[in-house]
């Protein structure tokens, strides 16, 4: 006997992601999902970003890690609302874990939430967590071929942060090949060059965040007016 199912396998995850999006819109909180390989510099980027943004925005963090509290400990000194999700082997965050993390956060008092996803270029791109934008972080030592190898992430993200740009002269990374591949894959995607440890490119990143937050707020306002 043949049973027709025709059910989306990720439907349950996408349903909860929709709930998260509605919750964030209601609370006027913008959530960014940082996705990269392990070691590309996500935590360092947050360490540089938080002190510069926190005079203007109230920030919260969801820290995803397979094991350990190490990244969370690095961000603890900023004394922000932060929830650590240890996935214990799972290679991505999903909307169920993110929703329960959000329920522990003072959303009425937060303007921006940064989610540091588990270091992985594949699965985090597949699981919608209700964010307002995915941000792909890539570091130059990883090589310029990553957009071609991981097209889903580089199609889905709103911004590419190219970190460790200060190492360009000593690593095998062709900036022109990288930009060309990316424009073939996702022509409208902005790329910001950054060296988070030295602070290079951080100002442009902050401007991008401000713009993205502004756009999201305008979109919410329009929806309210409709």
């Amino acid at each position: 006997m043949d049973y027709k199912v025709m059910k989306k396998v990720l439907e349950a995850n996408e349903f909860l992601a929709g709930d998260i999006r509605r919750l964030l819109a209601e609370k006027k909180t913008v959530m960014f999902n940082l996705i990269s390989s392990p070691g590309s510099g996500k935590t360092t980027i947050l360490e540089k970003t938080i002190p510069l943004l926190s005079s203007k925005y109230k920030i919260g963090i969801i820290e995803g890690d397979v094991e350990t509290e190490r990244d969370a400990q690095r961000l603890q000194r900023f004394d922000l609302p932060m929830v650590l999700i240890n996935t214990h082997g799972a290679c991505h965050l999903d909307s169920e874990t993110v929703l329960s993390a959000l329920q522990e956060m003072p959303l009425d008092d937060l303007d921006i939430i940064f989610v540091e996803n588990v270091g992985n270029l594949v699965c985090p791109a597949e699981f919608d967590i209700g964010e307002n934008g995915k941000i792909a972080v890539l570091s130059t030592p990883e090589g310029d071929d990553k957009p071609q190898k991981y097209p889903l992430l580089f199609r889905e993200c709103k911004l590419v942060l190219l970190n460790k740009i200060d190492l360009l002269s000593v690593v095998n990374f062709s900036l022109s090949d990288f930009c060309e591949d990316l424009s073939t894959l996702n022509g409208s995607i902005p790329i910001l060059e950054m060296a988070a440890t030295s602070g290079m490119g951080v100002d442009e990143w902050l401007q991008w965040i401000e713009q993205a937050v502004q756009e999201e707020r305008e979109a919410w306002l329009q929806e309210t007016n409709c």
Partner: protein, 114 residues
């Protein structure tokens, strides 16, 4: 090995379907998988076999339909298949595109004996 993650999700659905229809033994499962998901066929089969052990679907045959990546140009409305990861409209060179197909992971049918 993101195939294992997805197969684990699929098994949740298979077990729901089996329960709903009182299927005692699942003999065949059919999936639709978009090419943008980048699943390696042999890995999907390997993960399916591994996860199915001890379940109602142990020994079931797994059939997979691969769905090509199709996009629509927001500028000129042309719909085309993406080849060699080139997301540029061949008519107007536009790159603002909506993905029409290619991201599916769908459990199409479950076949079994009650």
């Amino acid at each position: 090995m993101h195939e294992l993650t997805m197969i684990n999700q699929i098994f949740g659905l298979i077990e729901e379907v089996a329960k709903e229809h009182d299927i005692e033994k699942v003999t065949r499962v059919k999936l639709q998988v978009g090419e943008l998901r980048q699943f390696i066929p042999s890995m999907l089969h390997f993960a399916f076999e591994a996860v199915s052990k001890g379940t109602v679907a142990q020994g079931a045959q797994l059939d997979i339909d691969y769905i090509p990546i199709k996009v629509r140009c927001k500028n000129c409305d042309n719909t085309f298949d993406v080849k060699e990861q080139t997301y540029i409209c061949p008519i107007c060179d536009g790159c603002d595109l909506d993905i029409v197909t290619g991201k599916e992971v769908i459990l199409e049918t479950v076949e079994g004996d009650t």
